[in-house]
């Protein structure tokens, strides 16, 4: 069945998952539904001790068994130890058919590979995967289906009961003996615990794992004791050096700076750039550079940002300190400056993943965005973006908040260098689609800027600027003139992954990768 972005979704996948094909970014607006709920074991007796001596013991207490769904958060990024630590014990116990439901997985989780191969883990649901897990999925080693969800889409899936978490393991930088978890302080300080909040609310069993046990009560708590069954203290839950990098030096790559300047010029020439505007950006070199160059112009013109949203890095916090931003509303911290800021600055707030991006609550923060600045591996001539599947067909990337913010923002800008080596970023057809083109307004490359023809208003705004505006077809042609037209990747037949739209429909599927075959 062909969905609203023109992708052919096989009937057997629709049948097997019960999911519907994507019907448009706002197709489920106004729908009503009843939320799922966890099965809770009441802790009435005040003598019950939530502290448990080891991961193995807590697994037993939680009644671990074959076929369960275990959940994890990714606030420790590539410094995470929790997923591997828990799964090693599960593996030792000989448990099979586990579904991992993580807010994201990365290269830090390469040690899960043997568990995928031997059937300990048979399903993976995540924002995305990199490294060995991505390869394992793409090469067909995972027995079940991988489901890739956006940050907002994951919350929606959990709240609506599309996925039910049996046990949530929440790595907590600090925790008290009764389960109050905070992201600040401790050895593995990660700033916020936004994406773990929904797990705590909807999992049957909730386990806090910490390396820094603090006196009771640990307040203000990101996750409250009322949702926590057990607390386990371990030596280390993460590698601080990989959780947050030091202050990154602003990029000196002229190409990125040039694209960042284009982006800033674009932003300031829209009607949305006025006092109190809201803004979100990623942490790539060009994004950070655009934050810096935008800051300069805000200062010159005396325009303040009302809201900075999403994943936060140092340069944004600097603007907050300089009084150029009213409030930062944070779901993820990328460096030590951001971690420090959320802990100390009263105008820097932590919110939950649902508040951030869930499309099926009563209005997420992304809906209030004026601008979002995103990156993309590929953008097709219909402005559809791919941030999950490499141009070689291998799963290597995460949706993150990409489709959520794109759908929410009034002006969605994607920055992508036209060429990565020989691979063109602008192409006839993306290898996979994660973000529908109807929600993407502008693509900025080093070779020119294309505005989505749906946005005649923005096209009009840019007339009279010196920006190198062209059509997206012209960008594609420029790319193909240099590198040649790429052949589409030839996949095998088996579907190994579903790219879920934020509203729970299927926007695309990923098939098993196939060795390249010469024609003769």
């Amino acid at each position: 069945m062909i969905n609203a972005v023109g992708r052919d979704i096989p009937q057997e996948i629709i049948d097997a998952t019960g999911m519907k094909p994507f019907a448009g970014a706002f197709a489920r607006h106004n729908e009503t539904y009843t939320k799922a709920a966890p099965t809770v074991r009441a802790i009435i007796d005040p003598r019950e001790d939530k502290m448990v001596g080891s991961i193995a013991e807590v697994l037993k207490k939680c009644g671990i068994k074959d076929g369960m769904t275990l959940s994890f958060h990714h606030h420790f990024r590539e410094g995470d130890y929790v997923v591997n630590m828990v799964m090693e014990e599960v593996h030792k116990m000989g448990i099979k058919d586990i579904t991992i439901c993580a807010s994201s997985l990365g290269k830090a989780h390469n040690p899960l590979l043997p568990m995928i191969e031997d059937g300990t883990i048979t399903n993976i649901q995540s924002s995305g995967v990199r490294g060995k897990i991505g390869e394992a999925i793409s090469t067909g080693k995972l027995k079940g289906l991988a489901i890739m969800r956006s940050h907002g889409g994951r919350v929606r899936a959990i709240e609506s009961g599309d996925v039910h978490i049996d046990i949530a393991f929440i790595g907590a930088p600090t925790c008290d003996k009764y389960g109050n978890m905070r992201a600040n302080g401790g050895k593995s300080d990660c700033g916020v615990l936004s994406y773990a909040y929904v797990d705590a609310q909807y999992a049957d069993k909730v386990v806090a794992i910490t390396d820094t046990l603090v006196p009771y009560p640990n307040l203000p708590a990101s996750i409250s004791q009322v949702n926590v069954d057990y607390v386990v203290e371990v030596d280390e839950i993460g590698n601080p050096a990989k959780i947050a990098t030091g202050a990154a030096k602003p990029t000196t790559d002229v190409r990125k700076i040039m694209m960042a300047d284009y982006c800033t010029q674009f932003v300031i020439n829209t009607p949305y750039f006025k006092d109190g505007f809201s803004y979100q950006t990623g942490v790539g070199g060009a994004s950070i550079a655009s934050t810096i160059s935008l800051g300069k112009i805000m200062k010159e013109r005396g325009i303040k940002m009302g809201l900075a949203l999403g994943g936060i890095a140092g340069p944004m916090c600097k603007l907050l300190e300089e009084g150029l931003i009213e409030k930062i509303v944070d779901t993820q911290d990328f460096d030590l400056t951001a971690i420090q800021s959320v802990a100390t600055n009263p105008n820097h707030f932590e919110i939950t993943g649902s508040e951030y991006a869930n499309p099926m609550n009563k209005g997420a923060y992304v809906n209030q965005l004026d601008f979002v600045i995103l990156a993309s591996l590929e953008v097709d001539v219909n402005f559809n973006c791919n941030v999950v599947v490499g141009s070689d067909g291998m799963i290597t990337g995460a949706q993150g908040g990409h489709p959520d913010t794109a759908a929410g923002a009034k002006c969605t800008i994607v920055i992508a260098p036209l060429l990565q080596g020989r691979i063109p970023a602008i192409c006839d057809e993306c290898t996979a689609i994660t973000t529908p083109g109807e929600t993407v307004d502008v693509v900025i490359t080093d070779y020119g800027i294309a505005i989505n023809p749906r946005r005649q208003d923005l096209i009009e705004c840019m007339k009279g600027t010196k920006l190198p505006i062209c059509t997206i077809e012209e960008l594609r042609d420029k790319a193909y003139a240099i590198v040649g037209k790429p052949e589409p990747v030839k996949f095998g037949d088996r579907v190994v992954g579903v790219i879920e739209s934020r509203d729970g429909t299927i926007i695309d599927v990923v098939r098993q990768i196939k060795d390249y075959e010469w024609d003769d």
């Binding site: 000196t252 002229v254 190409r255 040039m258 060429l419 070779y447």
Partner: protein
């Protein structure tokens, strides 16, 4: 006359001709010229490989109007003659002669170039020359070098080798290069040629770089050799005339054109005495403003 002789050359960016990632699309950074290097950037055992790479780059990559200068190996090496052949066969825009010390050096390259033009059926005079002065002898012979050939559009200082010859080093103060810079620009202007300054290698010192560009511009230089795209914007900025300068130049050009038709030789613009001698400078200012994209008049 080759129309490229006096083209705008504020920034001439060095690129190793042998590095695919560098030569692929440097036009993105909008330098006025790129200098595809066969000389110092290329290891001795890759001199041949660099030529094949250069040839296909010249033939197949659309550099979008950026001048393609090739720096060939020095005349003291055995490489340079084949370098000239590939430059001509690939139809580069200009050849930069390394370590030029005399008019004879220029003529030797020109002779080899003409032979190659014959061989490859390339129109005579379509490829220009420039000379890099890298020794005290070269500096002393600057005027003779500048006047050696009508195809030579200018000279460039190569500060590293020059200071070694001078038995000193780059100090950062510029004192060691002062004499050479002065001698060169005087010789170049006397010969009606362009003049380009040496590279500035400390990429982190953008302030120092800017000061140096401001200085050489004040000295009369036409442009700067660039080692990294980061240096291009600053260079162009320094070489971009101010709105005040542009408005004045515009008036001068218009007045001269008008008064010349009426046979008037001297007149005033904004209370300043003007004659025909102001004209070339004013045209240069307008051209510079156009290149920088800041000219909005109708000239």
């Amino acid at each position: 006359m080759n129309p490229n002789l006096n083209r705008l050359r504020r920034s001439m960016m060095f690129l190793n001709a042998q590095k695919p990632s560098l030569i692929k699309d440097p036009y993105i950074y909008k330098p006025d010229s790129i200098m595809l290097d066969l000389e110092d950037a290329v290891a001795e055992n890759q001199k041949d490989a660099a030529r094949y790479s250069l040839y296909h780059a010249l033939k197949e990559i659309d550099y979008r109007g950026v001048e393609r200068v090739v720096r060939i190996n020095g005349l003291e090496t055995a490489h340079w003659k084949e370098d000239v052949r590939v430059c001509v066969a690939g139809r580069c825009d200009s050849i930069r002669i390394s370590k030029t010390e005399s008019a004879a050096d220029v003529l030797a390259v020109q002779a080899e170039m003409e032979k190659a033009e014959e061989e490859f059926g390339v129109e005579k005079g379509s490829i220009l020359l420039m000379a890099a002065l890298e020794s005290t002898k070269g500096i002393l012979n600057a005027y003779e070098i500048c006047t050696a050939s009508p195809l030579l559009f200018g000279v460039a200082l190569s500060g590293g080798d020059y200071t070694k010859d001078l038995q000193t080093k780059i100090t950062g103060t510029g004192v060691e290069l002062a004499g050479a810079r002065q001698s060169m620009i005087i010789a170049a202007r006397a010969a009606g040629k362009q003049c380009f300054d040496t590279v500035f290698t400390n990429l982190d010192d953008m302030e120092g770089f800017r000061k140096e560009v401001e200085m050489i511009k004040a000295m009369g230089y036409d442009g700067k050799s660039i080692v990294n795209p980061r240096q291009i914007a600053v260079t162009h900025e320094v070489f971009t005339p101010s709105q005040k300068e542009i408005i004045f130049a515009e008036k001068v050009v218009k007045e001269v054109d008008e008064k010349k038709a009426k046979g008037i030789g001297v007149f005033t613009v904004d209370g300043k005495m003007i004659d025909i001698a102001f004209y070339p400078g004013a045209v240069r200012t307008i051209n510079m403003a156009k290149a920088a994209g800041v000219y909005e008049g109708d000239l």
